[in-house]
């Protein structure tokens, strides 16, 4: 149509220009995509390849396509995998319950101080999570500022301890992941049209009814995102179990880390990492199906 309007435009210029424009996005995206391909896609393939090899760290590893590496890794670590899944489920549930009221209050009643509250919530996360976890090990230690004081006051028996227990591990992971729970919740609650809540109240819904029938369903995309963003890092965590846990609180991340970095049993470590990735992918897909796909696109 353009050509009819401008008959004197030289024919060659149009495709030439188009070609130039068509090349622009590739030039812009190429360096980053090459980096992502070489250091993300290829390493994933290298990991899959390594997980099927046999050998040891002294004599080297050979590709033998030994799928039994997976069944071996699973049968040796079944209870640890289950424990990791259970811990992650508890962490996700507790973090949701703790974070939802906070996100709700800031989104609905934060007023012009919303950003200040968000800043205060994110402030602690300027310190590396390893050091925050170390700080918790100080706080929770047997004779530390809380339990030491309570013991000298005679409130708690001397044998009472939290450090080294599953409780400490779960509490530590929850603490470290709370920002990943609270931010998506806040974003979805903040987007809710306040007039809908008022309409519900005008129609004689009680405060509670307005919440359960209007606010809660509308914040589902946020809950969905919060559950994924909390549970995925929770399953693979090993820092909390190392710093706050004891001998009986090992998680699957600890096994992968020590098999890979200490024992150099690469096939078993990588097989476990791939199993972990698979569990998360399958879990995310089932979860998405249960909630309905339109929810994900919204999120």
């Amino acid at each position: 149509m353009e050509r009819h309007l401008q008959p004197d435009l030289p024919d060659v210029e149009v495709p030439e220009r188009r070609k130039k424009r068509a090349r622009a996005p590739y030039g812009l995206a190429a360096p980053a995509l090459v980096w992502l391909f070489v250091l993300f896609v290829i390493p994933m393939i290298a990991m899959v390849s390594l997980s099927l090899q046999t050998g040891n760290s002294l004599e080297g590893f050979r590709q033998t396509f030994r799928f039994a590496n997976y069944t071996d890794a699973l049968s040796q670590n079944g209870d640890i995998i289950l424990r990791s899944l259970r811990n992650a489920a508890i962490v996700t549930g507790v973090a949701l319950l703790l974070a939802y009221p906070v996100a709700y209050w800031i989104a609905f009643y934060g007023g012009k101080f919303k950003n200040v509250f968000l800043f205060l919530l994110l402030l602690p996360f300027f310190i590396s999570f390893v050091i925050r976890t170390v700080a918790w090990s100080f706080i929770l230690s047997d004779n530390g500022i809380i339990f030491g004081t309570l013991k000298t006051l005679g409130v708690l028996p001397d044998s009472y301890r939290v450090l080294g227990t599953t409780f400490a591990v779960i509490a530590g992971i929850t603490y470290n992941l709370l920002p990943f729970t609270i931010l998506p919740l806040y974003v979805s609650l903040e987007q809710i049209d306040r007039r809908l809540v008022e309409a519900a109240k005008d129609l004689y819904a009680s405060k509670r009814k307005a919440f359960t029938n209007v606010v809660l369903p509308l914040s589902m995309p946020g809950i969905f995102a919060a559950v994924l963003l909390t549970s995925i890092p929770a399953i693979g965590d090993y820092v909390n179990a190392s710093v706050l846990g004891g001998p009986g609180t090992t998680m699957i991340g600890n096994v992968i880390q020590s098999e890979f970095l200490r024992d150099r049993n690469y096939p078993e470590a990588t097989a476990l990492a791939i199993v972990l990735m698979g569990i998360m992918l399958v879990g995310a897909i089932i979860y998405a199906r249960l909630l309905g796909t339109e929810r994900i696109t919204e999120a």
Binding site: P31, L50, P101, W105, F119, L123, V130, G236, V239
Partner: protein, 286 residues
């Protein structure tokens, strides 16, 4: 915009059902909880700052370890900040890798974000998917994959593998940040510059780049913060080139020297200040 959004809430409607005095104290329940929650989140930080001023008993010849109880106030550790050469080296490593990888990730991620915000091209869906995967892949899986790759290549792990890996996990975050900023940008400004005789490169540097600046700065700071905070991927890709978080993790077995808490306090205060400045800059620019 926030003024419009907050308006409807300010119109207090009379409650349809009158409630007794019970409402009076329940009104304070949620705000109190929010404050308690913020205190809970900040509690370890307060402990770190406080314990950076704690004396240690004994162990003067050997390196001192922070005690879990309060012994007495001292500012000694601030004066003896660089006493531990290993720790100082680890801090230097973290800062170097942090700055270099954030610069690289900002350069690469900005261009990628721009391409994704502005063009529909073949392979775009694939690029989106890889970005999504690299953000959502669990750290331990990413760390194990990178380490496998370096093992398969026979590359010894150290500063360069750390740089490559840290840049990798930051690219996607920068791209997403810049893309959000670029999507809200008025493209006619760039077209106007070109109509006024600027070639595309000049238009990009004189018009597009300054307008994108808050997004790029946010992306850079995010990349730097991610790199400084990272533990898992560092542990898998560092080899003998110890970073600050991995050094601290290693020290948990023998006891934490107070210098760690001093460094943590300084990093925290710097980070918090930078974030506040960044927030003010982006508010000013928009």
């Amino acid at each position: 915009m926030s003024a419009i959004a907050t308006e409807p809430r300010q119109v207090e409607l009379p409650a349809p059902v009158a409630r007794g005095p019970r409402r009076r104290w329940t009104r304070f329940l949620l705000p109190t909880y929010v404050i308690a929650f913020i205190l809970y989140l900040s509690f370890p930080i307060l402990v770190i700052i406080a314990f950076s001023f704690n004396q240690t008993r004994g162990g003067f010849g050997t390196s001192p370890r922070v005690k879990t109880t309060w012994i007495g106030f001292t500012t000694d550790w601030y004066g003896r900040l660089f006493d531990l050469p290993d720790l100082t080296a680890a801090i230097r490593h973290s800062l170097t890798v942090g700055v270099l990888s954030a610069l690289a990730a900002t350069a690469l991620g900005t261009l990628l974000g721009l391409a994704l915000a502005r063009y529909r091209f073949r392979g775009r869906a694939g690029a989106d998917f890889v970005i999504f995967l690299s953000i959502s892949a669990p750290e331990i899986v990413l760390g194990a994959a990178l380490a496998s790759f370096f093992v398969a290549l026979g590359v010894s792990r150290g500063a360069s593998t750390l740089f490559l890996s840290h840049t990798l996990f930051s690219i996607a975050f920068v791209a997403v940040t810049v893309r959000a900023r670029a999507a809200g940008l008025d493209r006619s400004l760039e077209a106007a510059a070109m109509d006024l005789g600027a070639n595309p490169v000049t238009a990009f540097f004189k018009v597009t780049l300054p307008l994108l600046f808050p997004g790029i700065l946010a992306g850079f700071l995010l990349a730097f913060a991610l790199s400084m905070d990272d533990f898992v991927i560092s542990q898998f890709t560092q080899g003998p080139f110890t970073m600050f978080p991995t050094w601290v993790f290693g020290a948990t077995r023998v006891g934490i020297p107070p210098h760690v808490f001093v460094f943590a306090t300084i990093i925290f205060l710097t980070g918090a200040t930078l974030a506040m400045v960044q927030a003010l800059v982006s508010r000013h620019r928009t």
